[in-house]
Amino acid sequence: MSLLDVRDLTIRTSDGRALVSDLTFSVDRGERLGLIGESGSGKSLTTLATLGLLPDGMTTTGSVELDGTQIVGASEKSLVEVRGRAAAIVFQEPLTALDPLMRVGRQLAEPLRRRRGLKGDALRKAVAEALEQVRLPEPGRIARAFPHEISGGQRQRVALAMALACEPDLLIADEPTTALDVTVQSEMLVLLDTLVGERGMAVLFVSHDLAVVSRVTDRVLVMKDGRAVEDGTVRDLVRAPRQPYTEALVDSARRLESALDLEGPR
């Protein structure tokens, strides 16, 4: 059985407009799937729906099974059980993903405390370790800092550390590098790749950038206007895109690649 099994997922607004239609895909344990498409294609809504976190007023039909639990129509109580343990999310915007008034260490301690039952010195040590794992320098200083006192890239690492601290079976990364500048972006992707690989976690990686997705995942699902238009391995998609939309995506990725090549080796 798949870890995440999405079947005929349809998400509607309160006035009946379908934002995601008949979406079907699955992610096995340890597998990595890229979800790619332009803004407004329903990628982020899909990730929120997998954890039952859609905004009020939106209705979901179809089936989302996460680690054997049906998410669609589940009670908040049973959702709290599943979230974090089965799947955790890293969001796009590192500035808003952390509570501005809480020190980084305390925020990171929250999932560690709940998931591993740590407290006191053991908890403090676990926080420092978690910060080291995401290659943050001076974990002691960062743990005492407020989010606005560290850089965007560092904040995103903290967000990643928080998601990993939940020890989820599935890590959902919703455009985790889009808000970062290119060099930081590259480091972040390597880090994500390594950490997830070490833990054998499954990944659902959401992005609008084929080049970014291809660095982390091997299988890709292309979405447009709330529908899946094409899926397959990154290689197949690049070599022989069947849909004009995928072709456009591949073309733009190529153009960017060659532009970078012209600037010489990095």
Binding site: L48, L51, L53, D56, E76, V80, E81, V82, R83, G84, R85, A87, A88, I89, F91, E93, T96, A97, L98, D99, P100, L101, M102, Q107, E110, P111, R114, H148, E149, A159, M162, A163, A165, C166, I172
Partner: protein
């Protein structure tokens, strides 16, 4: 450090009044109902600030009045905070018709002038300080509740709340750890402002004869009693008026100072 100067000035002004109130608990120049003095005596002599039309010592009345003013401010704000924040939280989490009903109810309550609402409550009960405090507190609860509802809704829409939920944090925990601390700076400033308004509201109610009954000297009632003799004995009206202004300015300065020190956006700008 201009921002802490504001806070300090406010604290000193409000603290001065608080000190007077504290002293009045242990020592007063005369008994509050002592009418032995010469009527409408001017400042100086055995009565430092003079006497009122019944021959009572003005300073004594001012001192006991400070107790009433502070009690009115603290009591009303405590009620407004307790009822308002609770109601606001419930309204923020409520959905559909319940949310609409609560919001409509609060809007109607706010459209009522605080003083009118307070007068209704005071006349339904009796004219005592407690009635006045309850009345002002409840009227202010509506304002605090509406503010809380908006603030909570705004915080709930933030990514860090969703992030916290994705890791399986329960609602009560999220409210305690993330929602309340994040709405607190704005709320604290508003409560400080409400304190000043409550002091004024109590003075107004007493002026209208709806506050603390005699012999308790509320500043508002002192103003009313001194009104007729203002031209011949101005001290009786000036003294409570000045103290009222000082207290309200002090509290407002505290609110201003709090905004500068607590507001995360401003703090970010000054430290980053």
């Amino acid at each position: 450090m201009k921002r802490s100067a504001t806070l300090w000035t406010g604290c000193v002004l409000a603290g001065l009044i608080a000190l007077v109130a504290l002293v009045s608990l242990f020592w007063l120049p005369y008994d509050a109902s002592d009418t032995s003095g010469t009527r409408l005596a001017g400042p100086g002599g055995s009565h430092l600030l003079g006497t009122d039309k019944l021959g009572r010592d003005l300073l004594t009345q001012l001192m006991t009045g400070s107790r009433i003013a502070l009690a009115a401010g603290l009591g009303s704000v405590a009620i407004a905070a307790l009822v308002g924040i609770t109601l606001g939280l419930v309204a923020a989490f409520a959905q559909g018709w319940f949310d609409d009903t609560v919001s409509a109810f609060l809007d109607i309550l706010i459209a009522f002038p605080t003083l009118l609402l307070a007068m209704l409550i005071v006349s339904a009960r009796s004219a005592t300080l407690t009635s006045a405090i309850i009345a002002i507190g409840l009227a202010q609860s509506a304002i605090v509740a509406r503010l809380t509802r908006i603030l909570v809704k705004r915080v709930l829409a933030q990514d860090y709340i969703t992030a916290s939920r994705t890791s399986g944090t329960s609602w009560p925990r999220i409210v305690g750890a993330h929602v309340l601390p994040n709405i607190w700076p704005t709320l604290a400033v508003n409560l400080a402002l409400q304190f000043g308004l409550a002091v004024l509201a109590e003075a107004s109610l007493s002026y209208l004869g709806l506050g603390a009954p005699p012999p308790n000297a509320s500043w508002g009632r002192m103003l009313q009693e001194a009104q007729a003799t203002f031209t011949t004995a101005p001290a009786g009206a000036l003294a409570p008026g000045i103290l009222l202004v000082l207290l309200v300015i002090g509290v407002n300065l505290v609110a201003d100072g709090l905004r500068d020190t607590l507001d995360p956006a401003r703090r970010r700008r000054t430290t980053a």
